[in-house]
Symmetry: C2
Subunit: 240 residues, 2 copies
Protein backbone atom coordinates (compact mmCIF):
# COMPACT_ATOMS: atom_id res chain seq x y z
CA UNK A 1 0.00 0.00 0.00
CA UNK A 2 1.84 3.10 -1.23
CA UNK A 3 1.78 6.04 1.08
CA UNK A 4 -0.44 8.87 -0.13
CA UNK A 5 2.57 11.07 -0.66
CA UNK A 6 3.02 13.89 1.76
CA UNK A 7 5.58 16.05 3.53
CA UNK A 8 8.78 14.87 1.92
CA UNK A 9 10.61 17.74 3.58
CA UNK A 10 9.30 20.73 5.59
CA UNK A 11 10.64 23.25 3.10
CA UNK A 12 14.18 24.41 3.55
CA UNK A 13 13.60 28.03 2.60
CA UNK A 14 12.42 30.66 5.03
CA UNK A 15 8.61 30.75 5.58
CA UNK A 16 8.28 34.10 3.85
CA UNK A 17 4.72 35.30 4.47
CA UNK A 18 4.78 37.82 1.61
CA UNK A 19 2.46 37.29 -1.34
CA UNK A 20 5.47 36.79 -3.60
CA UNK A 21 7.23 33.46 -3.47
CA UNK A 22 4.97 31.59 -0.98
CA UNK A 23 7.47 28.76 -1.13
CA UNK A 24 5.23 25.75 -0.51
CA UNK A 25 6.55 22.38 0.66
CA UNK A 26 7.59 19.83 -1.94
CA UNK A 27 5.31 16.91 -2.73
CA UNK A 28 5.00 13.99 -5.08
CA UNK A 29 2.11 13.24 -7.38
CA UNK A 30 0.09 10.10 -6.70
CA UNK A 31 -3.46 10.47 -7.93
CA UNK A 32 -4.55 6.88 -7.33
CA UNK A 33 -3.30 6.72 -3.78
CA UNK A 34 -4.84 10.09 -3.02
CA UNK A 35 -8.22 8.99 -4.31
CA UNK A 36 -8.08 5.75 -2.38
CA UNK A 37 -7.08 7.65 0.72
CA UNK A 38 -10.09 9.90 0.29
CA UNK A 39 -12.52 7.08 -0.40
CA UNK A 40 -11.46 5.00 2.58
CA UNK A 41 -11.86 7.91 4.94
CA UNK A 42 -15.07 9.02 3.30
CA UNK A 43 -16.57 5.62 3.98
CA UNK A 44 -15.60 5.90 7.63
CA UNK A 45 -17.04 9.36 8.00
CA UNK A 46 -20.24 8.63 6.10
CA UNK A 47 -20.73 5.37 7.96
CA UNK A 48 -20.21 7.17 11.26
CA UNK A 49 -22.40 10.17 10.67
CA UNK A 50 -24.65 9.61 7.70
CA UNK A 51 -24.78 11.54 4.46
CA UNK A 52 -26.00 14.81 5.93
CA UNK A 53 -24.11 14.34 9.16
CA UNK A 54 -20.77 13.78 7.47
CA UNK A 55 -18.63 16.87 7.09
CA UNK A 56 -16.42 17.34 4.10
CA UNK A 57 -13.91 19.09 6.33
CA UNK A 58 -13.92 16.10 8.67
CA UNK A 59 -13.24 13.74 5.78
CA UNK A 60 -10.42 15.99 4.63
CA UNK A 61 -8.99 16.00 8.13
CA UNK A 62 -8.96 12.20 8.18
CA UNK A 63 -7.00 12.04 4.96
CA UNK A 64 -3.40 12.91 4.23
CA UNK A 65 -4.61 15.33 1.59
CA UNK A 66 -6.80 18.42 1.51
CA UNK A 67 -10.43 19.34 1.05
CA UNK A 68 -9.64 20.87 -2.29
CA UNK A 69 -8.56 17.47 -3.61
CA UNK A 70 -11.89 15.97 -2.66
CA UNK A 71 -13.63 18.44 -4.89
CA UNK A 72 -10.98 18.04 -7.53
CA UNK A 73 -11.54 14.31 -7.82
CA UNK A 74 -15.15 13.85 -6.81
CA UNK A 75 -16.91 17.06 -7.74
CA UNK A 76 -19.10 17.54 -4.74
CA UNK A 77 -20.22 15.89 -1.52
CA UNK A 78 -22.85 13.75 -3.19
CA UNK A 79 -20.41 12.64 -5.86
CA UNK A 80 -18.01 11.55 -3.17
CA UNK A 81 -20.79 9.74 -1.35
CA UNK A 82 -21.82 7.88 -4.48
CA UNK A 83 -18.27 6.76 -5.13
CA UNK A 84 -17.75 5.83 -1.49
CA UNK A 85 -20.89 3.72 -1.58
CA UNK A 86 -19.68 1.88 -4.64
CA UNK A 87 -16.28 1.41 -3.08
CA UNK A 88 -17.90 -0.05 0.03
CA UNK A 89 -19.88 -2.52 -2.08
CA UNK A 90 -16.80 -3.45 -4.06
CA UNK A 91 -14.73 -3.95 -0.93
CA UNK A 92 -17.31 -6.25 0.62
CA UNK A 93 -17.67 -8.09 -2.62
CA UNK A 94 -13.98 -8.94 -2.58
CA UNK A 95 -14.49 -10.82 0.67
CA UNK A 96 -17.13 -13.01 -0.94
CA UNK A 97 -14.96 -14.38 -3.66
CA UNK A 98 -13.52 -17.36 -1.83
CA UNK A 99 -16.94 -18.92 -1.35
CA UNK A 100 -17.31 -21.96 -3.58
CA UNK A 101 -20.71 -23.57 -3.35
CA UNK A 102 -21.01 -25.34 -6.66
CA UNK A 103 -19.65 -28.67 -5.52
CA UNK A 104 -21.82 -28.88 -2.41
CA UNK A 105 -25.25 -30.51 -2.12
CA UNK A 106 -27.93 -27.84 -2.46
CA UNK A 107 -29.06 -27.84 1.17
CA UNK A 108 -25.52 -27.62 2.41
CA UNK A 109 -24.73 -24.87 -0.06
CA UNK A 110 -27.70 -22.93 1.21
CA UNK A 111 -26.62 -23.42 4.82
CA UNK A 112 -23.09 -22.38 4.05
CA UNK A 113 -24.22 -19.31 2.15
CA UNK A 114 -26.51 -18.17 4.95
CA UNK A 115 -23.85 -18.81 7.55
CA UNK A 116 -21.27 -16.94 5.55
CA UNK A 117 -23.57 -13.99 4.96
CA UNK A 118 -24.27 -13.68 8.66
CA UNK A 119 -20.58 -13.68 9.52
CA UNK A 120 -19.61 -11.45 6.67
CA UNK A 121 -22.18 -8.79 7.52
CA UNK A 122 -21.05 -8.92 11.09
CA UNK A 123 -17.48 -8.37 10.02
CA UNK A 124 -18.34 -5.33 7.91
CA UNK A 125 -20.38 -2.95 10.01
CA UNK A 126 -19.35 0.10 8.00
CA UNK A 127 -20.80 -1.44 4.88
CA UNK A 128 -24.02 -2.22 6.71
CA UNK A 129 -24.21 1.33 7.93
CA UNK A 130 -23.72 2.64 4.42
CA UNK A 131 -26.69 0.57 3.30
CA UNK A 132 -28.73 1.80 6.24
CA UNK A 133 -27.95 5.34 5.21
CA UNK A 134 -28.91 4.56 1.66
CA UNK A 135 -32.25 3.30 2.88
CA UNK A 136 -32.80 6.49 4.84
CA UNK A 137 -32.18 8.27 1.56
CA UNK A 138 -34.57 5.98 -0.31
CA UNK A 139 -31.83 4.15 -2.19
CA UNK A 140 -31.33 7.12 -4.44
CA UNK A 141 -27.68 6.33 -5.08
CA UNK A 142 -27.88 2.55 -5.07
CA UNK A 143 -30.53 2.78 -7.75
CA UNK A 144 -28.29 4.97 -9.85
CA UNK A 145 -25.30 2.65 -9.80
CA UNK A 146 -25.12 -0.03 -12.46
CA UNK A 147 -22.14 -1.53 -10.73
CA UNK A 148 -24.03 -2.10 -7.49
CA UNK A 149 -26.99 -3.56 -9.32
CA UNK A 150 -24.71 -5.99 -11.11
CA UNK A 151 -23.10 -7.06 -7.85
CA UNK A 152 -26.43 -7.90 -6.29
CA UNK A 153 -27.69 -9.62 -9.36
CA UNK A 154 -24.83 -12.07 -8.89
CA UNK A 155 -26.06 -12.86 -5.39
CA UNK A 156 -29.45 -13.81 -6.74
CA UNK A 157 -27.90 -15.92 -9.48
CA UNK A 158 -26.04 -17.87 -6.86
CA UNK A 159 -29.25 -18.66 -5.03
CA UNK A 160 -31.08 -19.43 -8.24
CA UNK A 161 -28.48 -22.05 -9.01
CA UNK A 162 -28.81 -23.58 -5.56
CA UNK A 163 -32.59 -23.70 -5.90
CA UNK A 164 -32.31 -25.29 -9.33
CA UNK A 165 -30.04 -28.05 -8.05
CA UNK A 166 -32.14 -28.56 -4.97
CA UNK A 167 -35.31 -28.89 -6.97
CA UNK A 168 -33.66 -31.25 -9.42
CA UNK A 169 -32.39 -33.73 -6.87
CA UNK A 170 -35.36 -33.23 -4.60
CA UNK A 171 -33.39 -32.04 -1.60
CA UNK A 172 -35.14 -28.68 -1.58
CA UNK A 173 -38.71 -27.66 -2.23
CA UNK A 174 -39.37 -26.97 -5.88
CA UNK A 175 -41.37 -23.82 -5.25
CA UNK A 176 -38.63 -21.87 -3.53
CA UNK A 177 -38.19 -18.29 -4.64
CA UNK A 178 -34.52 -17.26 -4.77
CA UNK A 179 -35.41 -13.66 -4.11
CA UNK A 180 -37.41 -14.57 -1.03
CA UNK A 181 -34.56 -16.71 0.19
CA UNK A 182 -32.19 -13.83 -0.31
CA UNK A 183 -34.60 -11.62 1.57
CA UNK A 184 -34.71 -14.02 4.51
CA UNK A 185 -30.98 -14.50 4.73
CA UNK A 186 -30.42 -10.78 4.46
CA UNK A 187 -33.04 -9.94 7.05
CA UNK A 188 -31.34 -11.91 9.80
CA UNK A 189 -27.83 -11.00 8.85
CA UNK A 190 -28.49 -7.35 8.29
CA UNK A 191 -30.69 -6.68 11.28
CA UNK A 192 -28.14 -8.30 13.53
CA UNK A 193 -25.69 -5.54 12.70
CA UNK A 194 -27.92 -2.61 11.86
CA UNK A 195 -30.02 -2.72 15.01
CA UNK A 196 -27.38 -3.72 17.45
CA UNK A 197 -27.17 -0.24 19.01
CA UNK A 198 -30.86 0.07 19.91
CA UNK A 199 -31.09 -3.59 20.83
CA UNK A 200 -28.10 -3.32 23.13
CA UNK A 201 -29.36 -0.11 24.65
CA UNK A 202 -32.72 -1.69 25.43
CA UNK A 203 -31.84 -5.27 26.32
CA UNK A 204 -28.15 -5.30 27.09
CA UNK A 205 -25.28 -6.83 25.19
CA UNK A 206 -26.09 -10.47 25.97
CA UNK A 207 -27.05 -11.30 22.39
CA UNK A 208 -23.83 -9.94 21.00
CA UNK A 209 -21.19 -11.98 22.74
CA UNK A 210 -19.26 -14.12 20.27
CA UNK A 211 -20.75 -17.36 21.62
CA UNK A 212 -24.34 -16.15 21.55
CA UNK A 213 -23.87 -14.80 18.07
CA UNK A 214 -22.75 -18.19 16.84
CA UNK A 215 -25.70 -19.85 18.54
CA UNK A 216 -28.07 -17.29 17.08
CA UNK A 217 -26.62 -17.79 13.64
CA UNK A 218 -26.78 -21.57 13.79
CA UNK A 219 -30.36 -21.52 15.01
CA UNK A 220 -31.36 -19.30 12.15
CA UNK A 221 -29.51 -21.27 9.52
CA UNK A 222 -31.09 -24.47 10.78
CA UNK A 223 -34.52 -22.87 10.76
CA UNK A 224 -34.04 -21.52 7.29
CA UNK A 225 -32.68 -24.69 5.75
CA UNK A 226 -35.33 -26.77 7.44
CA UNK A 227 -38.02 -24.62 5.92
CA UNK A 228 -36.43 -24.89 2.50
CA UNK A 229 -36.43 -28.69 2.52
CA UNK A 230 -39.30 -30.72 1.28
CA UNK A 231 -42.47 -30.27 3.39
CA UNK A 232 -42.27 -33.31 5.66
CA UNK A 233 -39.54 -35.93 5.97
CA UNK A 234 -40.12 -36.88 2.34
CA UNK A 235 -36.54 -37.39 1.49
CA UNK A 236 -33.40 -37.24 3.55
CA UNK A 237 -30.73 -36.05 1.17
CA UNK A 238 -28.30 -33.52 2.46
CA UNK A 239 -28.26 -34.74 6.04
CA UNK A 240 -24.67 -34.48 7.17
Amino acid sequence: MPEPAKHPAPDTGKPDKKKRAPRRPRWKQNPDAVQRDILINAISEFADRGLSGARVDAIAARTQTSKRMIYYYFGDKNGLYARALEAAYAEVRKGEEGLNLDHLPAAEALAKLAEFTFDHHRANPDFIRMVMIENIHNAEFVGASDMIRALNGAAIDQLTEICRRGAQDGSLRADLDPMQLHWQISAFSFFNVSNRPTFSALFGAALFTPETQVALRDDLVRMLVEAARRPAGTDGTGGK
Copy 2:
Protein backbone atom coordinates in the same frame (compact mmCIF):
# COMPACT_ATOMS: atom_id res chain seq x y z
CA MET B 1 -58.46 16.72 17.21
CA PRO B 2 -58.34 20.40 18.15
CA GLU B 3 -56.81 22.68 15.59
CA PRO B 4 -53.41 24.00 16.59
CA ALA B 5 -54.83 27.46 17.07
CA LYS B 6 -53.90 29.97 14.44
CA HIS B 7 -55.13 32.93 12.42
CA PRO B 8 -58.60 33.38 13.85
CA ALA B 9 -58.87 36.68 12.00
CA PRO B 10 -56.34 38.41 9.73
CA ASP B 11 -56.11 41.53 11.89
CA THR B 12 -58.68 44.23 11.37
CA GLY B 13 -56.31 47.18 11.90
CA LYS B 14 -54.04 48.54 9.22
CA PRO B 15 -50.85 46.51 8.69
CA ASP B 16 -48.65 49.31 9.99
CA LYS B 17 -45.06 48.25 9.29
CA LYS B 18 -43.65 50.75 11.78
CA LYS B 19 -41.91 49.49 14.90
CA ARG B 20 -44.67 50.98 17.04
CA ALA B 21 -47.91 49.06 17.33
CA PRO B 22 -47.24 46.01 15.11
CA ARG B 23 -50.87 45.07 15.60
CA ARG B 24 -50.68 41.28 15.37
CA PRO B 25 -53.67 39.08 14.67
CA ARG B 26 -55.59 37.68 17.58
CA TRP B 27 -54.87 34.14 18.68
CA LYS B 28 -55.92 31.69 21.32
CA GLN B 29 -53.59 29.82 23.62
CA ASN B 30 -53.41 26.11 23.20
CA PRO B 31 -50.02 24.91 24.35
CA ASP B 32 -50.82 21.21 24.14
CA ALA B 33 -52.09 21.39 20.59
CA VAL B 34 -49.11 23.48 19.55
CA GLN B 35 -46.69 20.99 21.02
CA ARG B 36 -48.47 18.09 19.40
CA ASP B 37 -48.46 19.96 16.10
CA ILE B 38 -44.71 20.42 16.41
CA LEU B 39 -44.04 16.83 17.45
CA ILE B 40 -46.06 15.31 14.65
CA ASN B 41 -44.31 17.36 12.04
CA ALA B 42 -40.94 16.84 13.66
CA ILE B 43 -41.41 13.09 13.38
CA SER B 44 -42.19 13.46 9.69
CA GLU B 45 -39.19 15.63 9.01
CA PHE B 46 -36.77 13.57 11.08
CA ALA B 47 -38.07 10.33 9.58
CA ASP B 48 -37.68 11.78 6.12
CA ARG B 49 -34.25 13.29 6.45
CA GLY B 50 -32.54 11.95 9.53
CA LEU B 51 -31.35 13.86 12.57
CA SER B 52 -28.67 15.86 10.81
CA GLY B 53 -30.60 16.13 7.58
CA ALA B 54 -33.72 17.54 9.21
CA ARG B 55 -33.96 21.31 9.22
CA VAL B 56 -35.54 23.15 12.09
CA ASP B 57 -36.84 25.70 9.61
CA ALA B 58 -38.43 22.93 7.59
CA ILE B 59 -40.15 21.56 10.67
CA ALA B 60 -41.40 25.03 11.52
CA ALA B 61 -42.71 25.42 7.98
CA ARG B 62 -44.67 22.18 8.30
CA THR B 63 -46.39 23.37 11.47
CA GLN B 64 -49.01 26.01 12.01
CA THR B 65 -46.69 27.72 14.43
CA SER B 66 -43.22 29.25 14.29
CA LYS B 67 -39.62 28.25 14.80
CA ARG B 68 -39.54 30.32 17.90
CA MET B 69 -42.07 28.04 19.54
CA ILE B 70 -39.99 24.99 18.79
CA TYR B 71 -37.17 26.45 20.81
CA TYR B 72 -39.57 27.68 23.44
CA TYR B 73 -41.00 24.25 24.08
CA PHE B 74 -38.15 21.92 23.22
CA GLY B 75 -34.99 23.87 23.88
CA ASP B 76 -32.91 22.85 20.93
CA LYS B 77 -32.88 20.54 17.94
CA ASN B 78 -31.68 17.54 19.88
CA GLY B 79 -34.26 18.12 22.56
CA LEU B 80 -36.95 18.15 19.93
CA TYR B 81 -35.55 14.99 18.39
CA ALA B 82 -35.52 13.21 21.73
CA ARG B 83 -39.14 14.12 22.37
CA ALA B 84 -40.15 13.22 18.83
CA LEU B 85 -38.54 9.83 19.23
CA GLU B 86 -40.45 9.20 22.42
CA ALA B 87 -43.65 10.39 20.81
CA ALA B 88 -43.11 7.99 17.92
CA TYR B 89 -42.61 5.09 20.33
CA ALA B 90 -45.68 6.08 22.31
CA GLU B 91 -47.78 6.43 19.18
CA VAL B 92 -46.81 2.97 17.95
CA ARG B 93 -47.37 1.56 21.37
CA LYS B 94 -50.97 2.75 21.32
CA GLY B 95 -51.59 0.56 18.30
CA GLU B 96 -50.42 -2.49 20.21
CA GLU B 97 -52.94 -2.25 22.99
CA GLY B 98 -55.76 -4.21 21.44
CA LEU B 99 -53.68 -7.36 21.20
CA ASN B 100 -54.87 -9.89 23.74
CA LEU B 101 -52.82 -13.05 23.78
CA ASP B 102 -53.38 -14.37 27.27
CA HIS B 103 -56.30 -16.59 26.42
CA LEU B 104 -54.62 -18.24 23.42
CA PRO B 105 -52.56 -21.44 23.39
CA ALA B 106 -48.86 -20.51 23.53
CA ALA B 107 -48.00 -21.49 19.96
CA GLU B 108 -50.95 -19.57 18.60
CA ALA B 109 -50.13 -16.58 20.75
CA LEU B 110 -46.61 -16.62 19.38
CA ALA B 111 -47.89 -16.83 15.83
CA LYS B 112 -50.34 -14.03 16.37
CA LEU B 113 -47.74 -11.82 17.98
CA ALA B 114 -45.27 -12.34 15.16
CA GLU B 115 -47.95 -11.76 12.55
CA PHE B 116 -49.12 -8.64 14.28
CA THR B 117 -45.61 -7.27 14.63
CA PHE B 118 -44.95 -7.75 10.95
CA ASP B 119 -48.12 -5.92 9.97
CA HIS B 120 -47.72 -3.23 12.55
CA HIS B 121 -44.17 -2.39 11.52
CA ARG B 122 -45.30 -2.29 7.95
CA ALA B 123 -48.04 0.16 8.84
CA ASN B 124 -45.65 2.50 10.65
CA PRO B 125 -42.74 3.25 8.36
CA ASP B 126 -41.99 6.58 10.04
CA PHE B 127 -41.47 4.83 13.33
CA ILE B 128 -39.15 2.31 11.70
CA ARG B 129 -37.19 5.11 10.12
CA MET B 130 -36.82 6.84 13.46
CA VAL B 131 -35.34 3.67 14.89
CA MET B 132 -33.03 3.35 11.89
CA ILE B 133 -31.84 6.86 12.54
CA GLU B 134 -31.33 6.07 16.17
CA ASN B 135 -29.16 3.15 15.19
CA ILE B 136 -27.08 5.37 12.95
CA HIS B 137 -26.60 7.54 16.01
CA ASN B 138 -25.70 4.54 18.16
CA ALA B 139 -28.95 4.62 20.12
CA GLU B 140 -27.78 7.63 22.04
CA PHE B 141 -31.29 8.91 22.64
CA VAL B 142 -33.07 5.58 23.03
CA GLY B 143 -30.61 4.69 25.74
CA ALA B 144 -31.34 7.93 27.54
CA SER B 145 -35.10 7.48 27.65
CA ASP B 146 -36.57 5.56 30.57
CA MET B 147 -39.94 5.65 28.88
CA ILE B 148 -38.71 3.86 25.80
CA ARG B 149 -36.88 1.28 27.85
CA ALA B 150 -40.03 0.59 29.81
CA LEU B 151 -42.05 0.18 26.65
CA ASN B 152 -39.70 -2.43 25.27
CA GLY B 153 -39.43 -4.23 28.54
CA ALA B 154 -43.14 -4.87 28.25
CA ALA B 155 -42.60 -6.54 24.88
CA ILE B 156 -40.16 -8.97 26.43
CA ASP B 157 -42.51 -9.66 29.32
CA GLN B 158 -45.19 -10.62 26.85
CA LEU B 159 -42.90 -13.15 25.20
CA THR B 160 -41.66 -14.44 28.52
CA GLU B 161 -45.22 -15.22 29.47
CA ILE B 162 -45.81 -17.05 26.22
CA CYS B 163 -42.65 -19.08 26.68
CA ARG B 164 -43.62 -19.94 30.22
CA ARG B 165 -47.02 -21.21 29.19
CA GLY B 166 -45.58 -23.06 26.23
CA ALA B 167 -42.98 -24.80 28.35
CA GLN B 168 -45.56 -25.69 30.96
CA ASP B 169 -48.00 -27.38 28.65
CA GLY B 170 -45.25 -28.75 26.43
CA SER B 171 -46.41 -27.02 23.25
CA LEU B 172 -43.17 -25.07 22.97
CA ARG B 173 -39.58 -25.98 23.61
CA ALA B 174 -38.57 -25.39 27.18
CA ASP B 175 -35.23 -23.82 26.30
CA LEU B 176 -36.60 -20.91 24.30
CA ASP B 177 -35.09 -17.53 25.07
CA PRO B 178 -37.68 -14.73 24.96
CA MET B 179 -35.07 -12.19 23.95
CA GLN B 180 -33.92 -14.32 21.05
CA LEU B 181 -37.50 -14.79 19.96
CA HIS B 182 -38.02 -11.06 20.11
CA TRP B 183 -34.86 -10.62 18.08
CA GLN B 184 -36.09 -13.02 15.40
CA ILE B 185 -39.54 -11.52 15.13
CA SER B 186 -38.08 -8.03 15.01
CA ALA B 187 -35.47 -8.95 12.43
CA PHE B 188 -38.01 -10.01 9.83
CA SER B 189 -40.53 -7.33 10.58
CA PHE B 190 -38.06 -4.52 10.79
CA PHE B 191 -35.92 -5.40 7.81
CA ASN B 192 -39.02 -5.69 5.68
CA VAL B 193 -39.64 -2.00 6.14
CA SER B 194 -36.19 -0.58 6.74
CA ASN B 195 -34.53 -2.09 3.69
CA ARG B 196 -37.39 -1.82 1.29
CA PRO B 197 -35.81 1.08 -0.63
CA THR B 198 -32.54 -0.66 -1.47
CA PHE B 199 -34.25 -3.98 -1.98
CA SER B 200 -36.73 -2.44 -4.37
CA ALA B 201 -34.04 -0.52 -6.19
CA LEU B 202 -32.03 -3.68 -6.71
CA PHE B 203 -34.65 -6.34 -7.27
CA GLY B 204 -37.84 -4.54 -8.13
CA ALA B 205 -41.01 -4.14 -6.14
CA ALA B 206 -42.23 -7.73 -6.54
CA LEU B 207 -41.74 -8.58 -2.87
CA PHE B 208 -43.75 -5.62 -1.72
CA THR B 209 -47.11 -6.15 -3.31
CA PRO B 210 -49.81 -6.71 -0.69
CA GLU B 211 -50.25 -10.37 -1.67
CA THR B 212 -46.56 -11.21 -1.61
CA GLN B 213 -46.15 -9.46 1.69
CA VAL B 214 -48.84 -11.63 3.23
CA ALA B 215 -47.23 -14.74 1.80
CA LEU B 216 -43.82 -13.65 3.04
CA ARG B 217 -45.23 -12.97 6.47
CA ASP B 218 -47.05 -16.27 6.73
CA ASP B 219 -44.00 -18.21 5.61
CA LEU B 220 -41.93 -16.54 8.26
CA VAL B 221 -44.44 -16.99 11.02
CA ARG B 222 -44.78 -20.65 10.14
CA MET B 223 -41.03 -21.07 10.07
CA LEU B 224 -40.65 -19.33 13.38
CA VAL B 225 -43.40 -21.15 15.20
CA GLU B 226 -42.28 -24.46 13.80
CA ALA B 227 -38.81 -23.88 15.16
CA ALA B 228 -40.23 -22.95 18.55
CA ARG B 229 -42.19 -26.17 18.89
CA ARG B 230 -40.74 -29.26 20.42
CA PRO B 231 -37.85 -30.72 18.38
CA ALA B 232 -39.63 -33.45 16.40
CA GLY B 233 -43.33 -34.27 16.26
CA THR B 234 -43.24 -35.02 19.98
CA ASP B 235 -46.55 -33.52 20.76
CA GLY B 236 -49.23 -31.99 18.65
CA THR B 237 -50.85 -29.34 20.79
CA GLY B 238 -51.70 -26.06 19.16
CA GLY B 239 -52.49 -27.44 15.73
CA LYS B 240 -55.41 -25.39 14.49
